[in-house]
Symmetry: C2
Subunit: 334 residues, 2 copies
């Protein structure tokens, strides 16, 4: 399906479910971007879930979003259980505004929901020559180090920086060995998952994606990854007023209330300390790219390069809509 | 040796090498703290190296440290190649001051050196009810993902938060599977290292610490850890005006010039968005500690708990000074 046609279709569906035109555009753009960068687990495959959550009144289609000014640099957003994309869109724009005005911006969000990919918002800040860090928590997936029960989300850490080229440096990494979205997709497609990624509900290693979903995912690097996940839970949950300590509901399985996810956005001007930041980052990347490579590696890539490449390639083509997603779209249009 | 006696001895040595009384105290305190928390690789074992660097004029014992005010929240420090401890001490105090005044503090440092453990400085901010993040780069140790040559330092990521208890939440994690200091100590003591931690200089896996030191250390979680290391190099090197892209000199092996390490300190008030932050973090930790544990685990610990425990226990005892360190001390006193 052509991007334009798909976008109109998504807007139609979202408006039918009660979002206003502007919020529908924001949401459609984010979902289509996920498809274009190849993150299908964060794209169309979630649309039905979002609509269901609106129907069941656990996403608020007509939120009264409040932005509280704490200082010229710092803001607090109560997203009133809006769809996460809208909350994050407002938050990143506020962060950029604060950083442009004062050098640094810090924006906390509470009462939000799943907003897709942090990197999508990081890109917006990087395009304005800002360095940016984004943290969000997520439903229980990963066991804290020493625990046998999942509690942390895959809690991504996202960092973006300008590179003096079209392709921004965007690190957007979950602290689990595998993304939960990928795991869900593997379970759906009945694919096996690699060893060392997850345990089943009895605490035994498994390569069965469905059993892994019922069990616990493993954090990267044991106590290090567990500590990073805990940090993200504090920054995006404890600090902001969002849910934390495992209380974020799974958007697919739990319709008993809003998710109340929290996010934290930090951004500052890249040339605060060195006027020639652009030249410095260019030199940095150049030196690293010139290193001798291990066998089979053609190019040393910086984070975000692969995603950008996929985006560029996919933007030229139509978006493939799998059968099950087509069914979803038809169902949602009825 | 009693802590007090050791401290006086260190001050005597550092002053003999040209540091002033105040800088000698700052440095001694940091080195002794490292011993007390059990991080021997960051304690007395480095004293001789620091003194040698002063003798060879690659650490400046009489630095003219300049603090440039960029805004009420943001400062830039040129440490004039001071010993890292002094630069970091000034920087964390400035960060705390800025955060206390405006809600958020951002301080970048250039022309610094190895400052011991990030967690030591994070603690100071946490004691003032601040949340803190600290980044520093380090000499080449870790190969970027896809490269066969080391370039990134073990580039620690440090995060601290108040816990409403005496024991702060301090995550201080290098992005390498093993700390370089531990590796150095293992090489010195002729101990083997675990599998999967490092490659020798020919790119082959090794459990020989000496061969690992000559080769490359592996980042945690492959491209994720490599990306985090790259992020730290940008934040602490490219951004600040410090060396980056592998140009930080090894303090033990390379006396051809100052290290020019960069650091970045970010801190903000923990109760910016939620007045009851203390209650929320207490609840967070309580819930996580109550999770069912895997076999053999007595308690789920948060980052920093173990270190605090060791500090408390060791503070009651005398500090054990190994033979080789005693020799160093005698040599330095001559």
């Amino acid at each position: 399906m052509k991007v334009k046609k798909l976008k109109l279709l998504l807007i139609k569906i979202l408006m039918k479910y009660g979002l206003n035109y502007n919020h529908s555009i924001i949401t459609s753009n984010a979902l289509i971007n996920a498809e274009l960068v190849g993150a299908h687990s964060h794209g169309l495959s979630r649309l039905k879930m979002y609509c269901e959550r609106i129907s069941k009144k656990v996403i608020n289609p007509k939120p009264k979003i409040k932005i509280k000014k704490i200082s010229k640099s710092i803001s607090h957003i109560d997203a009133d259980n809006s769809i996460g994309f809208v909350a994050a869109d407002i938050a990143i724009k506020k962060t950029i505004e604060n950083a442009k005005n004062t050098g640094i911006g810090l924006v906390a969000v509470k009462k939000s929901g799943h907003y897709g990919m942090s990197g999508y918002y990081a890109e917006q800040a990087v395009k304005k020559n800002l360095i940016v860090m984004i943290f969000t928590n997520a439903p229980p997936a990963v066991a804290p180090h020493g625990a046998s029960k999942r509690l942390f989300g895959t809690n991504p850490i996202c960092f973006g920086a300008p590179t003096a080229s079209k392709i921004p440096f965007i690190l957007d990494t979950s602290i689990s060995v595998i993304n939960r979205g990928k795991l869900r997709l593997a379970a759906h497609n009945k694919q096996k998952i690699p060893k060392g990624v997850a345990l089943d509900k009895f605490g035994k290693p498994t390569i069965d994606a469905k059993k892994a979903l019922e069990g616990v995912q493993l954090p990267i690097a044991e106590f290090r990854g567990s500590g990073l996940a805990w940090m993200v839970d504090i920054l995006s949950g404890v600090l902001t007023g969002g849910n934390h300590a495992g209380k974020v509901k799974d958007p697919f399985d739990d319709f008993t209330g809003p998710q109340n996810i929290g996010h934290l956005f930090i951004s500052f001007k890249s040339n605060l300390f060195q006027k020639n930041f652009n030249q410095r980052i260019k030199e940095n990347i150049k030196v690293i790219k010139k290193l001798p490579k291990i066998k089979g590696v053609k190019e040393i890539m910086y984070p975000g390069q692969n995603k950008f490449k996929r985006f560029k390639e996919n933007s030229k083509k139509e978006i493939k809509v799998p059968k099950n997603i087509k069914k979803d779209l038809e169902f949602l249009l009825k």
